[in-house]
Symmetry: C2
Subunit: 425 residues, 2 copies
Amino acid sequence: MKQYQEMTREELLTQKEQLTQTYSRLQAKGLKLNMARGKPGADQLELSLPMLDVLSSKSSCVTESGLDCRNYGELLGIPEARKLFGEYMGVTPEETIVVGSASLTFMYDCMARAMLLGVLGGEKPWCRYDKVKFLCPVPGYDRHFTICETLGVEMIPISLSEWGPDMDLVEKLVSEDETVKGIWCVPKYTNPLGGSYSDEAVRRLAALKPAAKDFRIFWDNAYAAHYVYEDTPVLNILEECKKAGNPDMVYMFGSTSKITFPGAGVAFFAASKANVDFTAKQLDAQAISWDKMNMLRHVRYFKDVDGIRAQMDKHAAILRPKFDAVLSTLEAELGGTGAGSWVKPKGGYFVTYMSMPGCAKRIVSLCKDAGVVLTGAGATHPYHRDPEDSYIRLAPSFPSPAELAQAMEVFCAAAKLAAVEKLLA
Amino acid sequence: MKQYQEMTREELLTQKEQLTQTYSRLQAKGLKLNMARGKPGADQLELSLPMLDVLSSKSSCVTESGLDCRNYGELLGIPEARKLFGEYMGVTPEETIVVGSASLTFMYDCMARAMLLGVLGGEKPWCRYDKVKFLCPVPGYDRHFTICETLGVEMIPISLSEWGPDMDLVEKLVSEDETVKGIWCVPKYTNPLGGSYSDEAVRRLAALKPAAKDFRIFWDNAYAAHYVYEDTPVLNILEECKKAGNPDMVYMFGSTSKITFPGAGVAFFAASKANVDFTAKQLDAQAISWDKMNMLRHVRYFKDVDGIRAQMDKHAAILRPKFDAVLSTLEAELGGTGAGSWVKPKGGYFVTYMSMPGCAKRIVSLCKDAGVVLTGAGATHPYHRDPEDSYIRLAPSFPSPAELAQAMEVFCAAAKLAAVEKLLA
């Protein structure tokens, strides 16, 4: 088949007629499907059910160090949880704080505390500056951008490839502009591209020479062990920061949301001991302690990092056929059409589709009208401004395989129709 | 026995010698006891152990409305939790948000959001004002004061009796000063006095005419069902605010920290529907959802408010002998000495001791040196400034009865010695 771009107007009109028919037929099915968010499927949630049996009325709820998890105390988390999740993040227990049930909330907290109280090494709280800016590799995670937008932090988009952000630009902006206070990074299986930061990208980030003394890398390692096809190791940013003489420049985040139960697992923060101590002092106004019972439940269930890895193998086995289905449908339906391109991720929760410029909003709207909800077009960019109107994030994890097949049929019909419409416009 | 105040210098010197001997004898025991915080005792924690059996690998984790508690979603809490804890707080489910595991964290959050983003009806975020003030009834809860101090909110102490704050002063300050943005209240079994706000106090609070359009009553109903001797109903502040035409003026807080597991229960926020909607929009940047599994566990365990009340009867039965012991020891050892006075609370977690002026720090220090840790003197006042150096908060819940007897022996010896020292100085 010819690419759409090479077709005559007449050929395109024929295509449009056929595609409109296909789309109408699909629309008539009255589907109600959702590929919007990186939600694990029910089969993935089943994997963690045995964790619910770990603590019962017969269990001891006391840590190895003699701490009663049923009572107040231990603001930074129980020692065994700091050890396990510290190791998972590649840091020591002293460099780890285990918190509530969502890393997103703790990221918001870290930004809010920076605004209200300042960060280690800073001269004043960020809200006392006329302007605070964050670098935002794009395509990126919409909820990071929402935190910035809500708190009035100006976002500067930085183009992101599969192996990392445009480091030349990052280095230039960070070293020249002292209002640039941080950068968002999802280093492994980036959201949504699915690539992983190269060693060079990590080393150059760690070696930044920021104009702002209180610059921070917000390192959202949400998918640290979440491979689908292949585990792609990413350098330990804290170690690299230490080597580069910037030990306090990074905040790392992670959670078990996509390991055990989304929003009902545990989240963690990792950073230099100095950052942990500084953060602990600020947290003292905010909490007495987080849910230690759930920490204990997680630690006793997994035992060690190998326990987590074994669980991640099971997740990957469930996710792989779903990713296969998305990728093979894209290839079969859109391959060679010129309507768009996509990235085969190694892990994470998303497949990124890049349409012909100017089509993403139309595709999302067509899908919606046929009962298939996608992440809003533009969500991958700060202020929802995708200048090319091209990026769409597909989240294949939640629907069942049968639903996924239906949803992808709709998506591909919409993607083709939007492309043809665009070329005819 | 004569009151110390009526003794001659010689009699006081004799007393001092005897008391010093007693104190030294107690100090030699090398005790290590803690009456500093309102922590439930181990026997109280046992009461909630069956809750750990509610969810197991065999359980359905789906709400009545079909929501899977194991996955993301439902930012305001699962419907059955909003219903149960709304009823517990005396409001509708729509007026309730069920959040993480600590109400203190949500109070901090509400204050932080007010600072960064503003509140419903406000012109701008509070951090954009030169000065923001909060009224702080004293004696009060140190962690409320820490939130204000940390966030730079100026605190104005307001004297609190057993039936409420000095309402004449509150009305004057709130109506005249638009930088007064709120007031902290613990309406039932106040921390630490143990009294409950009178109907008049609640009605006058609800009918305030604040100069600030975004004035808020932070109503920390931490002990809503936590009677020890007698349940003392407090008027429903939200209802009274509605009647007075101030429906949006109050934020109510509560948690199950002293019902189930401290720091590992659920916390809730209650306010007008308009406040809930406004807050929900702000929260959207901060969280996807809180731990719904723990909400489900609580709801299935308690079933209804009667279930909570039955549990509170058991707590009261455990706490009562401890309060009895403290009160009877105070009476036996300090009654008639003139060293100080105390309040018999109806509920809550504390007994307040008011020493002869200028003795509180000395008593706490003497106790510490004899191995008995008390809440720091001054903790009951903003900036730790108790102008009389008189208030001491005793927390009898955590020690065992035998430990409590030892701790009170030390306390009474210290209280007497400090009084005699003061009169001799």
